[in-house]
């Protein structure tokens, strides 16, 4: 399964970005191969509806789960409709978040964890 961790930087020692839609980078981690791939979030500076846009991108990338800080209602609705599991309240480095996820220490959420932010 491919998972996406929202990241503040471009390597696995970077901290998890607490924002979902407007995170600085995406880290895609493949649970089978153990590969990490980082890319900048080109939607981060969008005017509005960024949570929707980022979620749609997650679906296009065929991500199965998202590890992040907080997720708003529009993003959650989109991720949920795409069948993507959402694991909020991730913190520390990207690598430690992945290890914690693999160890089953995360709990997925059944709803948004924060309010919609229009701008």
């Amino acid at each position: 399964m491919k998972i996406c961790i929202t990241s503040q930087g471009e390597d696995r020692a970077s901290n998890v970005d607490p924002r979902f839609g407007r995170c600085a980078h995406f880290c895609f981690y493949d649970t089978e191969s153990g590969d990490y791939r980082f890319e900048p979030n080109e939607f981060a500076a969008g005017v509005g509806g960024v949570g929707v846009q980022t979620s749609q991108y997650m679906a296009e990338q065929e991500v199965g789960a998202v590890l992040t800080g907080q997720v708003g209602p529009n993003a959650f609705k989109t991720l949920n409709a795409a069948g993507i599991e959402v694991y909020p309240n991730a913190e520390g480095t990207v690598e430690s978040a992945v290890q914690a996820f693999l160890a089953g220490e995360f709990e997925k959420t059944g709803g948004p964890t924060g309010p919609a932010r229009h701008a």
């Binding site: 005017v47 509005g48 509806g49 960024v50 929707v52 749609q56 529009n74 609705k77 409709a81 795409a82």
Partner: protein, 299 residues
């Protein structure tokens, strides 16, 4: 003639000036309160709720026919506001992000989109001697002020006449627009197509800073403008200096006065507080007419 009363900073006295001007003029005027997020001109006209009539105002938002939709994604990539999300085999609609432009319906090759009304506010009208008041009242939680502001402005002249000089040519009454504060889309939507903008400010660093922004925006719109300084006898003098430098006429100075504040607190206009103000507003209107005529003669 259409005069918009604007400001960068909020709370400088736009409504005081707009209502004062409307009440001071001898002829019947249209007063349009376009500050739809917080309309308050009506508070100064001694209106009862029974004297107002209102109708709902809606924008149109899309609905997808899942049987026809092929999830091609043309609509979601067209939408600048990300109100449509394409997933593998379906489309999601976010009414709260939609700006009601109707573009998704136009680009859909499968004719799978219909539109339904989404109420965002009310259009209210009322009449007192000398003033026809029209205003928009955006529902709490809604963010789309510009469509409602445009709906208020479509009432200008009671007919289809719009645009610079439109009301003048059709012999309509003077139109006074109370604009929202700031310099973003709602303000631009409110002042656009006016013949003249009055910028109300105060002698404070914030007042000057936001006046500078408003002047920049109105200059880009090629809008003739003048300045009213409220509470003019207190604060710093930078605003006057700025107006001199920019060649902006200061058309009125309203003093810092307990009496005006007391009338304001009771919901009465400045022209009721001080009869001299009726004359000041009439003189200002004449000066604006002259400035607009001058502008009209420029090549």
């Amino acid at each position: 003639m259409t005069i918009s009363v604007a400001s960068g900073k909020g709370g400088t006295g736009k409504t005081t000036v707009a209502v004062g001007l409307a009440l001071a003029l001898e002829q019947q005027v249209q007063l349009l309160d376009c500050d739809v997020e917080e309309p308050n001109s009506h508070l100064f006209l001694q209106l009862g709720p029974e004297s107002r009539s209102s109708e709902d105002f809606s924008i149109l938002v899309p609905r997808i026919d899942d049987d026809k939709c092929t999830a091609c994604g043309l609509c979601s990539s067209f939408c600048e506001y990300n109100a449509l999300a394409r997933l593998k085999d379906k489309l999601l609609v976010f009414d709260n992000l939609c700006h009601g432009c109707g573009g998704c319906k136009i680009v859909c090759p499968e004719d799978a989109i219909t539109e339904v009304p989404w109420p965002i506010g009310k259009l209210v009208s009322a009449r007192v001697p000398g003033v026809d008041l029209l205003y928009g009242d955006l529902n709490s939680g809604e963010v789309l002020a510009p469509p409602l502001i445009r709906a208020v402005k479509r009432q200008i002249g009671g007919s289809a006449s719009e645009g610079p000089g439109g009301t003048e040519a059709s012999g309509g009454p003077p139109v006074i627009i109370d604009s929202p504060p700031g310099t973003t889309c709602p303000m631009v939507t409110a002042v656009k197509d006016s013949d003249f903008s009055l910028l109300v400010t105060e002698n404070t660093p914030f007042g000057l800073h936001d006046l500078e922004l408003a002047v920049q925006v109105l200059s880009d719109l090629d809008m003739p403008m003048g300045v009213v300084i409220n509470r003019a006898d207190i604060g710093r003098s930078d605003v006057e200096e700025f107006c001199r430098k920019k060649n902006l006429p200061v058309l009125m100075r309203i003093p810092y006065s307990r009496e005006i504040a007391e009338f304001y607190a009771r919901g009465e206009s400045i022209v009721a507080a001080d009869p001299d103000f009726r004359r000041h507003f009439q003189e200002m209107y004449s000066r604006i007419e002259a400035l607009v005529a001058e502008e009209g003669q420029k090549p």
